[in-house]
Symmetry: C2
Subunit: 409 residues, 2 copies
């Protein structure tokens, strides 16, 4: 390797680019982690930064979950385990879906893996390079990163901002008509907070089945809906349909890197082989911690929902004072997707200047699709006072940018 | 998804195979995790199993590492962090390599990722499907799983059992002459315990550089050499050379899923994007735990080496009573690679029967290459008494298989 003791990572000007593979050259990563890295540099220089860029919840996780995890770690439970995931956790998930949510799910339909990894695992298991995949947009950055890495053609179907980014039958028709190999659907949605209706989701799944299209339903924010009733596609039984979710958001433990997929046993077997190939297995202590958490999930997420709804209302009040900004009221999740077109800045410039000038980190809209260069995503799951101050700083920053006529007198 | 409440995972006979991608169809996984799963089933039925299949060390991890990890978890450090890995850990690794091992390594040459994932990350970043990769054999199962998944042609170069599976100049010449895109080299070796000489490794790296071949040096067992002096390729500086290692074995924490790669800054930047795409980032608590461990690594691994050397000697005594079995004395690591040709059984049959009849789990040799169907790998890093009893059971099982003439009188 070439050593650069005093040079930052990256290319030295005189050094030619190394010959990476097609996949290596196509890597995008996730933009909000780049924002986080710049924010951390500001913090290292001694300043305080308001972190509204990542869905990094700051509520304490359920006590039962942490007690179990700490107890296991303290007793030295640090060995290897099943690639498929621990039976206790898979059974707890199956029980929740079959008994509480009345879905036809058994443990043989469940595999454990980091939720973010499941996106690439699913797409790589069903798509070949050059295949077409549909995203309803705006769409979560990892979808784009994963599609670019695998070499997929993305059919981007923009949802109507004026309809609150709801998914309509016309959107579904357009998706099917584009002839994709796979479709990703994300209700409750990140970044818009939209929650799609049972009717439209059932129709999407039925049409995918009829056309032999693979369908991944990302339901990470299912338990954090405070506006509309959530419908889980795990109630449906099609061989090419998979449902995935994460424990990161519902238990405020993104650092545990634990999620799950519910699917046909053939897909579950493939996920197990994929996990074995890529990361061998997940830790025992985090999995059994999550299993303990599943028992108290309803109680815990009730408090998360109440807090989100309250913070969202407070943020709405702050944003409401700034006529230059528009957004759709979220019905779920941690995020507000804000239209900043009136500022005249593109999202990247807006985000870097907001970070440098107001020490407030948000995610540029173009992370969610190239058509969203005049949007930013704000995450409201941090400490409430920090979120409020970050929102105030965002509004103050916007007011310096708006033409005088648009500023209220 | 199709639901099979009372049917085990896998295909029902009447159900056609789903249309997975080329990569999906090519998945192999790691055989020893399948052995683990069968062993766990026997345990669930109430029997005790001697686990000699996985390199799953049972020594308590360093106290400093566990105290740090437990302290951070107890304080709720469960958020997202850098995709590249925490600077504190990257700096600790760079300091160890630059000061203790006198390698020209700075933190800008270090990325954190699960070690098993780094194998696929590296191969996928530098190879396209159809490219050729060289493995010196027998070779670690993830290399095969990863190559099959990516679609690489493997040039398998068998090392000479009579030379203790040492790497020779002739092996290196053959590797280079095969015209590969990449070569994987693994000293100290899993499964043979061989430790290659500085001269042959330096020559390999120089020839790879001259021919523009990417080279990954897997040094997971570097600190567990008790026979020969280990040479780290991190002393060398070629742009296409990367060194990877794991904290799983040196700290007895496979469940932490934490490793690192030392490479050119361009490769480090790609690994960061890859980690961001695949798993976002690693936990903070495990990374800072490992950083605390690096400070006591030499003291801790001294005790691991002493224990390995002692257990290895005890196992040698047990094996020595069974003339039907041959093996090369390991100079490093946790493993003995045993030639079972005299039993007349292929490795899969041997392993499944040993597990079912003697409740002793070992890994079939064909996990390390198709040419090793008459070998098994035994891991000796479990509880010493269990390892000894497992070895005794293996020998007892072999004695039932050997022709009467081969049994000592």
């Amino acid at each position: 390797m070439s050593i650069t003791p005093s040079v930052p990572p990256g290319n030295r000007p005189e050094e030619p680019a190394l010959d990476f593979s097609v996949r290596g050259q196509a890597l995008l990563g996730q933009e909000m982690f780049k924002v986080l890295e710049r924010a951390k540099k500001i913090e290292e220089a001694g300043a305080f930064v308001y972190h509204l860029e990542l869905g990094n919840p700051r509520q304490p996780p359920p006590r039962e979950l942490m007690d179990q995890t700490l107890g296991l770690l303290g007793r030295g439970e640090v060995g290897y385990t099943y690639s498929l995931g621990l039976p206790v956790l898979r059974q707890a998930i199956a029980k929740r879906y079959s008994e509480r949510l009345r879905c036809p799910v058994s443990e043989h339909n469940v595999a454990i893996s980091p939720a973010n990894l499941l996106i690439t695992q699913f797409l790589d298991l069903v798509c070949n390079p050059g295949d077409k995949v549909v995203f309803f947009c705006p769409a979560f950055p990892t979808y784009w990163a994963s599609a670019s890495y695998i070499g997929l053609k993305v059919e981007s179907i923009p949802l109507d901002e004026r309809l609150g980014y709801d998914l309509t039958d016309a959107d579904v028709d357009r998706a099917i008509a584009s002839g994709p190999r796979a479709i990703l659907v994300n209700s409750a949605n990140n970044p818009t907070g939209a929650v799609y209706s049972q009717a439209v989701l059932e129709r999407l799944a039925r049409l995918c089945d009829q056309h032999g299209i693979w369908l991944l339903s990302d339901e990470t924010y299912a338990d954090i809906c405070y506006g509309r009733t959530f419908f889980t596609m795990a109630t449906l039984t099609y061989p090419r349909l998979a449902v995935m979710s994460s424990f990161s958001k519902v238990f405020s433990i993104p650092g545990f890197r634990t999620g799950y997929i519910i699917a046909h046993p053939q897909m579950i077997a493939k996920i197990s082989l994929s996990t074995s190939t890529l990361i061998s297995c997940l830790p025992t202590f985090t999995q059994l911690g999550c299993a303990a958490g599943v028992n108290v999930l309803d109680r815990y997420t009730a408090s998360v929902r109440a807090r989100c709804a309250s913070v969202m209302m407070q943020c709405g009040e702050i944003l409401g004072r700034c006529p230059g900004l528009t957004y759709s009221l979220p019905h779920s999740g941690f995020y507000i997707f804000i239209n900043i077109a009136a500022t005249g800045l593109d999202a990247d410039t807006f985000c870097w200047r907001l970070l440098d000038e107001q020490h407030t980190a948000v995610t540029p809209g173009n992370s969610f699709g190239v058509d969203y260069r005049s949007y930013v995503r704000v995450a409201i799951c941090g400490r409430t006072e920090d979120v409020r101050e970050g929102m105030r700083r965002l509004v103050a920053f916007v007011e310096t940018l708006l033409p005088a006529t648009a500023v209220p007198v």
